[in-house]
């Protein structure tokens, strides 16, 4: 238990001291994961709703693909984004490799299938007569779709929570495309991995505790906002 207590004490000490490097790492972690979840959510929520509502050939295959891709290995995504953004890659001219933008892109790709698949599941779980009811009450196609999203709001929020959780906890992809550069692309998870490799277990564990605490705090905050919403 000693090492655990020591780590907890060190975590508390780090938080209290307000170490600027730590704050920078925490802020970047949150910013990158928020941005990735927002970017992926903006695409995946409408996509998930459409997958549930619109019939088209190959729909089942797309749903299966989303479900399978929820478990995509981050390092594979990291590698793909790395190759895409590297000097000789298709998007190499943007010079995004080893920037926070590259990390956002990689995480958004990881988050996208999670949010899409869980949004799809949330909408499929609604009453099949819901959309017909909206239409009999005079809703246009768009108005009916909006009602469906409102009715599935708890499930969609859960999908976004899950996506954010994936992003904030992920290390492989951000390490590959971000590079863990001090003061530029170093985030919580890459710092933990690095400190562990360096043998500084207690600092790694302290950072791990802060990371878990942050994830809890963010989810609790979202949950409150969601409950408060009409």
């Amino acid at each position: 238990m000693n090492w655990f207590l020591e780590a907890a004490a060190r975590a508390a000490q780090l938080i209290i001291s307000g170490d600027p490097e730590l704050l920078g790492i925490v802020a970047l972690s949150l910013a990158v994961s928020f941005a990735a979840t927002a970017l992926a959510g903006g695409l995946a929520v409408p996509a998930g709703v459409a997958l549930a509502l619109v019939r088209f050939p190959g729909r089942g295959a797309v749903v299966s693909a989303c479900n399978a891709l929820m478990g995509m290995p981050p390092v594979v995504v990291g590698l793909a984004v790395f190759l895409l953004l590297s000097r000789r890659g298709a998007l190499g001219r943007l010079e995004l490799l080893f920037t926070p933008a590259a990390m956002v892109i990689a995480q958004a790709i990881l988050v996208l299938p999670i949010v899409a698949a869980l949004t799809h599941a949330a909408v499929m779980g609604l009453d099949p007569l819901l959309r017909d009811t909206a239409r009999t009450l005079g809703a246009s196609r768009v108005q009916a779709a909006r009602l469906v999203i409102a009715e599935a709001r708890y499930g969609i929020m859960a999908a976004l929570f899950a996506g954010f959780g994936r992003a904030i906890a992920e290390v492989g992809a951000v390490l590959m495309v971000g590079g863990n550069i001090q003061g530029l692309t170093r985030v919580m998870t890459t710092t933990i991995a690095m400190r562990t490799a360096m043998g500084d277990d207690s600092l790694a564990l302290a950072l791990g505790m802060i990371l878990i605490g942050l994830a809890l705090a963010v989810n609790a905050l979202f949950y409150r906002i969601q409950r408060g919403a009409p």
């Binding site: 017909d132 239409r135 009999t136 009450l137 005079g138 809703a139 108005q143 009602l147 409102a150």
Partner: protein, 247 residues
């Protein structure tokens, strides 16, 4: 007053023909009963008339007396769909308050706020839901929920109202309230009502014409008392007096 006109309407699902060459015109401003055994195509007919589904053949139109220009054939168009509404056997209530449920059909039509408030108040009153206005609609009892579903149709002041067995499994008080709401709509708005039901006593009390669906065809209109006293076709006889076929 307006009614729904079906011209040679068929509806097929794969190889299954649910409705076959149905032509009819429900009498304006009246309560027409749509009777018939399960699987006779009653729900299918109502969904077509509500412009929810498209017929495989034939056409469905709204027809207003003295106003032929208002006839609409476009099944997907929003305008005719907003003049008709349908209440399902199992009410689908939205995850919000009773009041917000009533506001929905008015909001999608973009009605001005004072008009919305007035109609919501009227809807709450006729459905006897005033004390529950602020409650989560999904926590209503079966009878309350069905009254809300009908009140949501009431505030629209529809020209045509289609009901798919709304009184199934209801308590007597809610059934009476629903009956009063239908008469009210008929009197105030001149609504043409088509009422599918298996609840024969109740149907007989409020119906003003009978249509009988069996095996994909729909016959009628029949006069109500005459239909119940001496069923005009053999299927109706079997439907009204189960077991008579063996006697």
């Amino acid at each position: 007053m307006t009614t729904i006109l079906l011209r040679r309407v068929s509806r097929r699902l794969g190889r299954l023909e649910i409705l076959r060459d149905v032509s009819l015109r429900f009498p304006e401003g009246r309560i027409s009963l749509l009777l018939g055994p399960n699987g006779a195509g009653k729900t299918t007919l109502l969904r077509l008339a509500a412009f929810l589904d498209t017929p495989s053949a034939g056409s469905i139109a709204l027809e207003s007396a003295g106003d032929a220009s208002r006839v609409a054939d476009a099944v997907t168009a929003l305008a005719p769909r907003r003049r008709v509404t349908m209440v399902f056997q199992r009410p689908v209530l939205f995850a919000c308050s009773v009041r917000a449920n009533l506001a929905y059909p008015l909001r999608v039509r973009g009605l001005p706020q004072p008009e919305c408030q007035a109609r919501i108040a009227q809807g709450l009153q006729v459905a006897a839901l005033e004390p529950l206005a602020g409650q989560d609609a999904r926590r209503l009892s079966g009878g309350e929920g069905q009254r809300l579903a009908l009140a949501r149709a009431y505030v629209i002041r529809p020209e045509v109202l289609l009901l798919d067995e709304p009184s199934a499994n209801l308590d007597p008080a809610s059934r009476e309230r629903i009956e009063a709401m239908l008469r009210d709509m008929q009197a105030r708005f001149g609504t043409t009502i088509v009422y599918a039901s298996h609840d024969l006593d109740h149907a007989r009390r409020i119906g003003q014409a009978v249509y009988f669906a069996a095996k994909g065809t729909v016959n009628g209109p029949y006069e109500v008392e005459a239909f119940f006293e001496s069923p005009p076709i053999r299927e109706a006889e079997t439907y009204l007096r189960p077991g008579s076929g063996f006697g």
